[in-house]
């Protein structure tokens, strides 16, 4: 039994969630010491598995009364340490709250508990003509509660938006144990948009226990294309040309030669191994307009020097292409024992510039970098390849990562497009925001979480500065 907990806490938690709902043995707690971000680790002192909102509220009150920090966790797929129990305490794991409570096809919304895995919802919607649009590459495992906390994106956010654009309301437990409802099955409620502010707050304001999400109509048709380019510059120029031409593809992804080679080894799709870059472009919508849009895109790619533009012949080929894309990070294992991926964003027109910079930085630090990313959004995911057992290489990777993110900021971009700040990028917050802005953020947090007992050490740097600055970007991860 950890010493820093009041002795009454665990018995109290047992009374609330029962013996099946509490982990307190050291060996059982160990797996909860990190999420998809493995550099920083810290074990919680207790893990609880509530099964309903009332239990969450009682657990929270119990923690509040005991003065113990507490942190929520979903599937633990965060790539930024969003689930790290900084300072220990009680971890509230929401994986047993996994019911889809309601699906309303007339009003196009669904009500889910936070532990529902993203793809379960879309699976449950099969046959209704609707789907849940946010599709992070981890959608087979990540929970909708976690998506709400980090405002997750995905390849199809270019046209459909990220999580916040699809959340209508949340029920949540405030750090004092009060259950409140914000929004609901309607598009608007009077007052400022607290729902919008809750999404992406990385679990620092409240614990979300129920979510009303907007459902999206399935498009009538798709056209999926693969543009093959002999230079990265041509490919990035084609991206700008397509977007600048007023076409909003459903998805626009870029893969460079390094990743193509790895994907080909893994999936034998038939990618051209000698191409410098390929663009995976998808348009969707009314069948009647798709051929014209496709032609336009093919034409624009050709104008920018595409060697060829291939078309996915059928649904099966489209599915295979997307599988390759979504599993791309896994294939990296074939190139290198370890890798680290970044999540920077630049204005789309700056893509040619940032990719040239990435190459330069990689060369200078003698680090091989491959790229696969959400080009249409300007959301880059440079993957730095290295061997984590070589500390000197690790240092060079850290330095290179840092410089890439610096460059994103210099272009007017951001250090995270979809992974979140967590503990990993907390050191960059001072670079992205003025002291005044951070102060207002801290004030906002204190409106809901006055004692900072909920998710301490996350997202906002403390006044004393942050001890975790950037030492934590060397990691292997799949996005």
């Amino acid at each position: 039994m950890p010493q820093n907990l009041p002795t009454t806490l665990v018995p109290e938690l047992l009374r609330i969630v029962g013996v099946e709902g509490v982990l307190a043995a050291r060996a059982d707690l160990m797996v909860y010491e990190c999420d998809g971000f493995v550099i920083e680790k810290n074990s919680p002192d207790v893990v609880v598995f509530p099964t309903c909102t009332e239990q969450v509220a009682r657990v929270v009150r119990c923690c509040r009364d005991a003065g113990v920090p507490f942190v929520p966790r979903g599937a633990g797929t965060s790539l930024a340490g969003g689930c790290l129990p900084v300072g220990g305490g009680v971890m509230i794991v929401l994986t047993r709250m996994k019911q889809i409570l309601e699906i309303n096809t007339r009003d196009r919304y669904a009500v889910v508990q936070p532990g529902v895995v993203n793809i379960w919802l879309t699976q449950a919607l099969r046959g209704t003509g609707l789907h849940y649009a946010p599709d992070p590459s981890s959608q087979g495992a990540c929970t909708i509660g976690g998506n709400v906390a980090t405002n997750s994106g995905g390849p199809h956010t270019l046209k459909y938006g990220v999580t916040v654009n699809h959340v209508l309301g949340v029920e949540c437990v405030l750090p004092d144990g009060e259950i409140v409802c914000l929004g609901g099955p309607v598009d608007e409620s009077p007052g400022c948009d607290l729902v919008g502010a809750m999404v992406g707050s990385e679990g620092t304001l409240a614990i979300v226990t129920k979510i009303w999400v907007r459902l999206t109509k399935n498009p009538q048709g798709y056209r999926t294309m693969l543009g093959v380019f002999d230079s990265v510059d041509d490919a990035t120029n084609a991206i700008s040309a397509i977007i600048g031409h007023g076409i909003v593809p459903a998805a626009l992804e870029m893969l460079d030669q390094g990743i193509i080679v790895a994907l080909e080894a893994a999936f034998q799709f038939g990618f051209p191994l000698d191409a410098s870059a390929v663009l995976l472009i998808e348009v969707d919508g009314l069948e009647v307009g798709l051929d014209a849009q496709q032609q336009q895109i093919v034409e624009l790619c050709r104008q920018q020097g595409a060697r060829e533009v291939r078309l996915a012949r059928d649904a099966a080929e489209r599915a295979r292409l997307w599988k390759c894309r979504k599993q791309a990070f896994g294939a990296i294992g074939r190139l290198s024992p370890s890798y680290c991926t970044q999540d920077g964003v630049v204005p789309r027109t700056q893509l040619p510039h940032i990719l040239r910079r990435i190459t330069e930085i990689g060369n200078r630090h003698r680090i091989r970098i491959v790229n696969v990313f959400h080009a249409g959004d300007g959301n880059i995911h440079p993957i730095l390849l290295f061997d984590e057992r070589d500390p000197e290489q690790v240092q060079r990777v850290l330095q290179a990562s840092n410089e890439i993110l610096e460059d994103c900021l210099a272009c007017g971009g951001s250090v995270t497009g979809e992974h979140g700040i967590g503990v990993e990028k907390i050191g960059f917050m001072r670079r992205m925001f003025t002291a005044d802005s951070l102060d207002v953020m801290a004030r906002f947090r204190s409106a809901l979480n006055p004692d900072n007992q909920l998710s301490p050490g996350k997202m906002l740097p403390t006044a004393a500065g942050c001890g975790l600055e950037m030492k934590g970007s060397h990691r292997k991860a799949a996005v």
Partner: protein
């Protein structure tokens, strides 16, 4: 923060060496690189049946790898709690399908559990009990004894006493695992005659194959073995069925008994003579998966032979799909749904082939099954050794099946067939559970399917 000490260095030597496991450390014989393949992304978790049911990461693939690595690194002890999490694994390999990084989970959990059993002090390992010794190893893997044991069962069924026992719940009064065994028994038809040692191709000869009949399957699914042989014949295959073949050894190996499994493997190598045939065809996914793994389970002088053997092994659906199925003529105007057996879909990556074959049957309609590749809880002998979890998963599977509204479930593994049929009987539903070869055979013979 407790920074992880760099755990790799002391173990790097374990990469190639295959020393006998350290008594105190069951992970010491595992290639440490295999642990490092896991990047801790967590994408496997929702594919894992026990995690989906329990929501505890200790009962997920990522968690189990973390536990095994923790024990190997000496960060935690192999406590009874840790053992439980590892024992609860179904070894369904759904996580391998989900893993983008290509972690070979089976190659971690299986040797770890083998070592966990052998290193258990005083022979008190979970599988050192009477049930494993007498029933699983002594009976299941011995077709002749099994056949004898089924004589009274047939009698009970003929007299309908079994239904009475099931309906009244009297089976619960028997020793738990014996009671479960009884309820798992399918409705046994009249005893099928043994397969001959050779059945010739019908029409132009296209291939020469060995049929692996399995031990449990041979006895409980004699008719499916016959159906498989006939389907192979109809597809132009000479079918060899050597009598000297034995159990594949999966039951032993998965229970942590490596040596008896090795002996069985080598007997099969001698009996099935891979060099003489185009393929070793298996119709039970669990056996097929074990046979395909012969090449890397043991590291001794015979690895090359076993690897060559394994390269010839094909699941029957996979084989027929590669060969090109002769169009089955007879219509079967029924709706069916297909359950992906773990050892077919995950361990062997055979998913589309059986569906493609079934789609060739005129008028057969396949309804998609939700969570079709989530384990039904059978998992070899898991339904006997972990009844609680097995039941939860069986209920979940049946619920999904009932939601499709169809009465016929098709699946390519003996354990799944028994498990799904048992659950539907216990819940009082009318459901036909068939092997794809049963349906193809009906079609080739222009017979009707009765429910």
């Amino acid at each position: 923060m407790n920074q992880d000490p760099d755990p790799h260095l002391p173990h790097r030597s374990a990469r190639t060496g295959l020393a006998a496991p350290d008594v105190s450390n069951p992970g010491s014989a595992i290639d440490y690189e295999r642990f490092l393949d896991c990047v801790h992304c967590g994408l496997c978790t929702a594919a894992c049946p026990t995690y989906v049911e329990l929501g505890n990461e200790n009962d997920s693939p990522r968690g189990r790898i973390y536990l095994m690595r923790g024990v190997t690194d000496g960060r935690i002890d192999l406590t009874p709690g840790v053992r439980r999490h590892l024992e609860l694994c179904l070894d369904c390999r759904a996580c391998e399908t989900a893993c983008p990084s290509g972690v070979q989970y089976g190659k971690l959990i299986e040797p770890f559990r083998v070592a966990m059993e052998t290193t258990e002090p005083n022979g008190r390992g979970k599988t050192h009990d009477w049930f494993h010794r007498w029933i699983l190893f002594g009976l299941f893997t011995q077709p002749r004894r099994m056949r004898a044991a089924l004589v009274p069962a047939r009698l009970l069924q003929r007299l309908r006493i079994d239904r009475w026992i099931e309906a009244t719940g009297l089976w619960r009064l028997l020793p738990q695992r014996i009671g479960r065994l009884l309820t798992l028994l399918p409705r046994l038809g009249p005893r099928t005659p043994d397969l001959p040692s050779f059945l010739p191709a019908v029409g132009r000869r296209r291939a020469r194959v060995v049929l692996f009949k399995g031990c449990v399957g041979d006895v409980m699914f004699g008719s499916t073995n016959w159906a498989t042989a006939r389907v192979l014949q109809a597809n132009g295959c000479d079918v060899l069925i050597p009598e000297s073949q034995v159990c594949c050894g999966a039951i032993h190996y998965h229970a942590g008994h490596s040596e008896p499994a090795r002996e069985l493997a080598d007997q099969n190598l001698a009996a099935l003579k891979p060099a003489d045939v185009d393929a070793i065809v298996v119709n039970i996914a669990g056996c097929g998966s074990m046979l395909k793994d012969y090449g890397h389970h043991w590291h001794d002088g015979r690895q090359a032979d076993r690897t060559a053997f394994a390269a010839k092994v094909r699941d029957v659906s996979e084989f027929l799909d590669e060969l090109g199925l002769v169009s089955p003529p007879g219509p079967i105007p029924h709706k069916v749904t297909y359950h992906d057996a773990c050892h077919l879909a995950h361990a062997q990556r055979v998913r589309e082939a059986p569906r493609r074959l079934l789609r060739r049957i005129p008028e057969l309609v396949i309804e998609e099954l939700r969570e079709s590749d989530l384990c039904c809880g059978a998992a070899g002998t898991y339904n006997l050794t972990e009844p609680e979890m097995a039941d939860r998963l069986a209920r979940r599977k049946l619920q999904n099946i009932l939601e499709t509204g169809v009465r016929v479930v098709v699946t390519g593994n003996a354990g799944c067939l028994l498990q799904i049929a048992r659950e539907s009987r216990l819940q009082g539903h009318v459901l036909r559970v068939l092997h794809p070869m049963d349906l193809l055979d009906l079609s080739y013979r222009n017979e009707c399917l009765t429910i």
